[in-house]
């Protein structure tokens, strides 16, 4: 258990692995409160093997990534959209 949180920068490598591209500067919208933030600004609790990404505005769980042997399982919570810039 971690008693402190980090931010989305800390899961930049995992996000890159999952999405195949840089994601910390990508924007996402929390469907629970409507706030739009870059992934780098999400509140992240890293408790191996799971990383919980929360909305910095309302605290809702936006997304969870669980690293399992040979795969990463991604669950989407309140993430209503994400915007990935081309290029």
């Amino acid at each position: 258990m971690s008693d402190t949180h980090l931010d989305g920068n800390s899961v930049g490598g995992l996000l890159l692995e999952v999405f195949g591209r840089e994601m910390t500067a990508a924007q996402g919208r929390c469907g629970a409160c409507g706030a739009v933030n870059v992934f780098a600004a999400l509140v992240v609790y890293r408790d191996a093997p799971g990383d919980v990404l929360r909305c910095p505005s309302c605290g809702s769980v936006v997304m969870v990534m669980v690293s399992l042997p040979g795969c990463v399982r991604v669950s989407f919570g309140s993430l209503s959209w994400m915007e990935i810039r081309e290029g």
Partner: protein
Amino acid sequence: MEGTAVQRRLTWLIAEVVDANQETPRVRSLGLEVPGWEGHEPGQHIDIRLTAPDGYQAQRSYSIATPSDGERITITVELVDDGEVSPYLVEEVRRGDRFEVRGPIGGYFVWEPGEGSPLQLVGGGSGIVPLMAMIRARVAVGTDEPVRMLVSARSIDDLIYRSELEATAINDDGIELVTTLTRSQPPDWSGPSRRVDREMLDENGFPPAARPICFVCGPTGFVETVATALVELGHEPERVKTERFGPTGG
């Protein structure tokens, strides 16, 4: 669509330790030669993966301390007591040792010389590392963005890159350095001796009207205090970029 979908997959590369430099009693910089490294931007980080003989793996992230330089990168690591990875990197690793790295990682907490805006850097403890990559890039390229750096360290002996920072601030009129020492100060210390707060940022930072781009890096509590204060002072939230690290990162 094999062969057509060229996606930038993040692969693990083998890094060899080619240089080691003790920065402070608890902090060491490691020069790494990484065949296949394709360059990076100041502010980016790498993931390091260590594998034990029994297959157990531990992975941590470390900021890159230097601008892009071929296949050579430098990281600066602070010892975290009871950590799984930092004791190896700070106390044990030797030249010639190898481990896995992947990167560069990050596209938000990055800055390139020539961006144009004044650059406001605020670092706490080893949060200074990615900010140092920005300073070093700014000095190497010789662009003219004015830079103000505010660094918080526990004591003068805990100030990472101290001599280089002090020399840079003396030699480059465009770079101002203010250090606050929060736990102990030398007898002749004339700088601030408390944690970074709104007043200190107001006195030593660029005014919001100068529209600086601000980078804040350090422990979570430090970053949140500083970022909140900068926005309260009138800086645009989108121009206050933050990166947190914590004791879980050891």
